[in-house]
Structure formats: structure tokens, C-alpha cells
Subunit: 349 residues, 2 copies
Amino acid sequence: MATIKEIAQRAGVSVSTVSRTLNNYPDVNPQTKEKILQIAKELNYFPNAVARSLVQKKTYTIGVFFGNKMNSGFDHPFFLDVISAVREVAGNAGYDLLVFTNKNKERATYTTLCRERSVDGVVLLLTGEGKRRTEPLVELQNSGIPCIAIDIPLIGEKTAYVESDNYAGAKLAVQHLIDLGHRRIAFIGGDEISKTSYDRLRGYQDTLMENRIGFDPTLIRLGYFSKEKAALGTRELMANKPDITAFFAASDEMAFSVIKTLRDLGKRVPDDISVVGFDDIKEAEFFEPRLTTVRQDKYQLGSEAARMLLNIIENPDYQPTPVTLPSQLIIRQSTAVLQKRFRQEGEDS
Amino acid sequence: MATIKEIAQRAGVSVSTVSRTLNNYPDVNPQTKEKILQIAKELNYFPNAVARSLVQKKTYTIGVFFGNKMNSGFDHPFFLDVISAVREVAGNAGYDLLVFTNKNKERATYTTLCRERSVDGVVLLLTGEGKRRTEPLVELQNSGIPCIAIDIPLIGEKTAYVESDNYAGAKLAVQHLIDLGHRRIAFIGGDEISKTSYDRLRGYQDTLMENRIGFDPTLIRLGYFSKEKAALGTRELMANKPDITAFFAASDEMAFSVIKTLRDLGKRVPDDISVVGFDDIKEAEFFEPRLTTVRQDKYQLGSEAARMLLNIIENPDYQPTPVTLPSQLIIRQSTAVLQKRFRQEGEDS
DNA sequence: TTGTAAGCGTTATCAC
DNA sequence: GTGATAACGCTTACAA
């Protein structure tokens, strides 16, 4: 690749003049300017971003951490949508994305990795254990590195997070079930470490209480967003509480698993038992029966995250604040009005 | 962040000694070595990758281009799986991924973007028009930049591609239909520019010929991997050729669209008409009816691509050659034995 | 075994 | 308006 030096030589000027021209500084003779631009074009010159970054301490790069540990797969069902949105708005602002892979680095943390690569900011798309408020996360939060987390409540000078309204979403789901006549509503929750899971649980509880149905903790199992654990929980629940007429699962994938398990148990969905999920992943629409669920706006999750991050990066005075996006109930085929026969059974128990 | 200079001062040695120590050079006194390592740890030192890249001309970064133009979304249904695999093997080798977003850059091409960022290699995950053999693609192919394309036949000194065996996959699909008794088999193809589409078309044609059924070009419509165009093609076909008893679609998404359209037309799948897709995206298993399709091994597509790319990067003598991965027929519920009444109808026309 | 110094390709600070 | 020159943080001859 051609360098600024070559251009300078050919144009018979100094490198600084070339640099100024290329960066559109005002104080440069139109004559020389044109000449330099011409030569740059001929040489098909593009500035070396690495060299520039070194002096400017700015890389126009946004780091991305994915997965449940610092290095696992892109394992969340809607990360693609989120990251796609991040990419779009970051791209429009001139930033590229650096996806960290960081294997076999001994003492590396989110923070050191970011510093090593000199990224201008970072977005966290973690799952499972990765969402636990551990030392590396706290370190990052306090590092001064611009950071936006998806679904993890980090707050700091240069840190905030974006999430869906999980509480309201859960309320919508449970209220829908109640409106359909259900009273014995089981909950397949997420985990005990994430705010996301906790909010969905609270939404479930509160809605039950508000409707004077009461909250029965024995109707709950944690599924940890895994098909297997959700299936297990469903089995246990159905064995112990045969009067259950509806399930609310904290994710669509778990809802699929609940439905399959129910089917194995000889139950029909939604005829015998109603099921609602959470997320509205693509498969939800294709599943049989088409899944009633709470939609998270994945695109907005990502674009909002990117917008805030860019704000933090480019505006020193900007004070980021957490954003909670509305979620929406999507009614499809996996929920139905409670049948009389069940209602009676329900009354009996 | 601490720099090598600071460490040198504290240790009372020169920067070069520090550098050598940190890079595990053999010729350094164990005493000083230990001392330096100790200080580095205390200062929580991590090398500045940007500075290092500048001198070494190596960034340990692999560029990724996504989408149908140089900047559109992550729009292919299985890109996530592919990129996830790329990330895993690249990560194990110590490389991070740089996802290019490149908006508003005037004369930028794949090549200039790669050079500007000094990526060590690049993987192309393009769709639609992006796959057309255009100047920017040829430029990249001849640039000397290590490059692996997914599904685009680029070949060069440092360039190769990875694809699924689309021809064999298509043959499997059509043969399956024929074995089921179908004779009037329509084809909803991809586009006219990609090798992928062409190979699937050839597989369709050849299988028909080999089975002495003959190839009727009027049974073909191009769907351009779009739901709308696939639906349109299906309508046209059914209007003009009512004796069709099976459809082979060049992608699962188009197959879904075909099935929906058929349903709108009052046809049952697979009872009246069989449909097979291509790709085996996640939704295929959830769709109703569960889709019979040709599976591409997305994970291997990505890991093979990364493996080859790393080979090109790290081994100057390595001569990359294109890789074609086996594809596999997954028989599910959208195909069935041709019913007698149709067979007769078919015979009649 | 260690230090000096050049250099990677830019930008930025001064003089001129 | 323009040119030296230092600086960014590191690696790497070459010397000592």
C-alpha cells in the first residue's frame, strides 16, 4: 500500500502537508491540495488505520463480547438480530465491530482485552453464567471504557444497559392466561442470577396477586433457559399438580420444550393446556401450534444499545441511563379459553 | 494503561529487555526476567495491540464481510452458524473477528478496506448481488490478501472457497421425490448469478434426465431466495401446470412460501403435493408440516473456511483449494408417496 | 545478557 | 501555507 510518505515525495511536499490535505484541513493551498488528491487517487491510497489509531488513540472500533463465558458460541436465539442492529447503527457512524474470541489468554478480562485492542467502546451480549455480577464485569463497569450491556444491569459513568420490559411482558402473558379463564398457572422460570429472569418471575407473581388468584410457589420450576431442564420441570409439575391448566415459560425455547413434554404426557395444547413463551424468536411462528408469546424488539434492543454507546464515546458530557423497551404480547395458537371440564376440575382441587 | 517503558523504568532496564522478556525470548537473565514479569503483573500490563501491529504488520484479526451489498444486514438464515464456527476456530488460534460495516466510504472496496485495517485475512459471507463476480471481488481475489469465500467460486494464490455439495444435494432431493412416485416436479430456483443456484438447478435437471422423466423447462421459476417471488412462481406454475405433484425449492424459506401458497390454493402438503427445501435452517424442523429438506452442514462450512484461512495466513507455501462439503437429505413430513388419483391425473395430461 | 536506536505510518506542535 | 520534528507503543537489528 502506498503511504503518505510516497505521496509527499511525488508531490514534492512534506508529509504534514499531505496529512493536512487528506484530512481536509482548511489551510492548504488549493493548487497543492488538488495535486496531492490527484496523486493519492492514482496511488489508490488509503490511510493505515493502525498507524492512525496509535497516535489518535481512537480505533473507530466497537468491541463485542458474546456468549455465556467469555468465549462460547453465539448461543442466544436472537443475538443475530441484536448484533445486526448494532452493526447497522455503528456502521453508519463509521465504526466497525470487533468480535472478541479470546481463547487461551491467561489473565485476560473484558477490560484488559478492550484496552489491548484499544476499542472505543464495547457491547456485552452475554448469557447464562456470563450475566452473573462477577469481578470482571464490575471491573469493566468501573474502567471508564464506554460500555453497554444487553440485559445486564450495569451502571456507571460510561456504562448503562438496554433491556426489554420483562416485568410488563410477563404481566401481559399471565394476564392473558387469566383472561382466558386459567387459574392454575405454572411458571417455568429462567435462572436465579439474572435480572431478566427475576423480572419475569415478579411479573408472574404480581399478576397472580393482583387478580386475587394468589401465588403458589410450588407451581414454579427453574428451567435455566434449557430445553432439558424445562422438560424436567414440566414433568415434575404435571406429576405433582395435575390441576395445572396453563404454563408460562420464560423463553420460547423452553415453551417449545414444555409443549413437547405435555404432548408426551398425552395432553393437547392448547385444548387441554395453554402455553405462552417469551422472546418471540423466529421459530415461534413456525412451531405447531404457533406459539403465543411476548415479543422483545430485538432490532431496537441493538440499535438503542449502539446509539447510546456512540453517544458515550463521542460526547464526554453524556450521562447514559438504562433503557427499558416495551414488550408486546403476540397471541397465536398455543393459548385458548379454559374448557369447562377443566374449570370444574380446577375448582375441585 | 501501563506501557513497556514504565516497566523498563521500574525495573531499571531498557525497553528492549522488557520486550524480549514479555515475548519469551530465550536470551534473558532469569533474575531480570522474573523481576520484569513481576512488575508487569503488578502494573496489570497488557501489550498495546495497535502498536505491535504497526511494526509487525500483523493484527491477529480476521475481517468478515456480510450481506448482499457491502453493508447490508446479516441476512442469510444460517450465517450465524457459519460465523459462529469461524469465530471458534479463529479464536482458538488467537485471532479476533473484525466485522466490516463500511458505510459512506467513497471509493472503498473489499481490498482497500482490508488493507486499511490491516486484517490478516478475510472471509466473505455474501448474498444476492454480492455474489456476482464483480470488479471488487476480482480485485480482492488478486490482491494477495488471504481470503475464503463461502459459496462464491473465487480461486487464487491466497484465495479459495467453501461450499456445500449443492449439485449432489439437489439430486438427493429430486431422487427422493421420484422414488415417491412423482413425475411432474416443479423447481423454484435461486438466481441466475450464483454457482449455488446453478448447481442446484443442474442437480434437478440431471436427476430428471437420469430417471428418463425428461426435463421440462416450463416447470421452473426463479425465486431469488425471496418469499414473495417464490409465492409468485408457485402461483404461476399451479395455474399453468395443474398436474404438478411436487415442488423442489432451492431454499427452505422459499419452500415455506411454496407451501403457504399451495395451502392458499386449497392444496394439502404433503397429501396433494410434496415439497422439499434446501438448507435445513432451524425453522424447518418447526414448520408445519415439518420440512423435508437438504441439510447443509453450517458449522463445518464455517470451521473449514476458518481452518483454510488460517493455513493461508500462517503457512506461505500452503496452496488453498476449494472445498465442497457433503450435503444430506433430511426426510420429514412435507413429502409423501404420490397418491393414485394424482398418478392417474398425471398420466392423463 | 543487555542497551541503543531505527522504524512502523500517522497526526500534531511548532516554527518559519 | 508549509516543513521539521516529536510522538504514539512496540519490535528488532545491531552494538556493546
